[in-house]
Symmetry: C2
Subunit: 162 residues, 2 copies
Amino acid sequence: MSTIRAIPYGFPVPRSPGVELALLLLDGFHSMTDQVHAELADRGHPGVRAGHEFTLRAIDAGADTASELGRRLSVTKQAAAQAIAVLEQLGYVHRETDPGDARLKRLRVTPRGHEMMTLGAALFDEIRDRWAAQIGAKELDTVQAHLARLTAHRSRTADDLL
Amino acid sequence: MSTIRAIPYGFPVPRSPGVELALLLLDGFHSMTDQVHAELADRGHPGVRAGHEFTLRAIDAGADTASELGRRLSVTKQAAAQAIAVLEQLGYVHRETDPGDARLKRLRVTPRGHEMMTLGAALFDEIRDRWAAQIGAKELDTVQAHLARLTAHRSRTADDLL
DNA sequence: CCAGATAGACAAGCTACCTGTCGAACTCTA
DNA sequence: TAGAGTTCGACAGGTAGCTTGTCTATCTGG
């Protein structure tokens, strides 16, 4: 049970503010990704998990080999290779041997992959817009800015995740 | 790759505000739980994962059978039973047959379990306090209140997670 | 008193990771 | 320019935390 997919809801447990905050953060993430996931499936991209989009984004951003992708995502190259295999199967990335270095299999995001990324981003933005409508655009911006500041230290040392 | 444990950091990718927000939420959660996890290990509770504390909390809050725990956590009773087995192994819960209903194995959080829960909550609160010091107590309260409101709909129907 | 519901155990399978090992390909250095 | 060391990706095998399906024991309502 390392990753909590659901929270003991529905009964009045006095929880500490700190625990409460942690749960709200996770819940917020799941709330967004679950909706995006469902909508993507409806729009021609079934089987796409939350991580696929982020992984594809990393590849597109320059992590164009399995080892490099692993490094950027802070997972082993084997795990990265597995993720790539799934993305290739789904038609989101293309793999071909590098002409200059025969060890490398260069990764390229396919048009369909770009389509999925674009749609995914739009869906995330849509949810964010709905949230902005609920609490106010300015307030949401503030929330996001605060979160960015509070987690800023992690942006530099991704390794501290372990 | 359903659960993202790390994010493609360290290179300047223009991400949409919605995607950014989702990542910040997850990052915030991991930031808290990773620190608590490390500190718990240092203070006599090694091997405790993020989920253990939440599961224990659910048991203590009244989910005192495997099936009920599964319902509250929105997982199968088998998954709940497995989690219970781990918690029992670690000495955090005690299991005994209900005298009135021989089908039931009643769960009870042990003193050590309560100790871990208390310590865990204190550690979460500690991090929250540090955050409050960084952006201001009032601001953090506001962030938390907004998050609570934005995810409120999920508090009633935990099933929508699937 | 029996039909149906419920509790929990067991088996098998899945996903997303991990470590360890390997051959092929590249680079650095003596 | 040969050999040493590094790096790439593949493969094998293992683990955690879930899943579905099935089973028996036990309880409950008409």
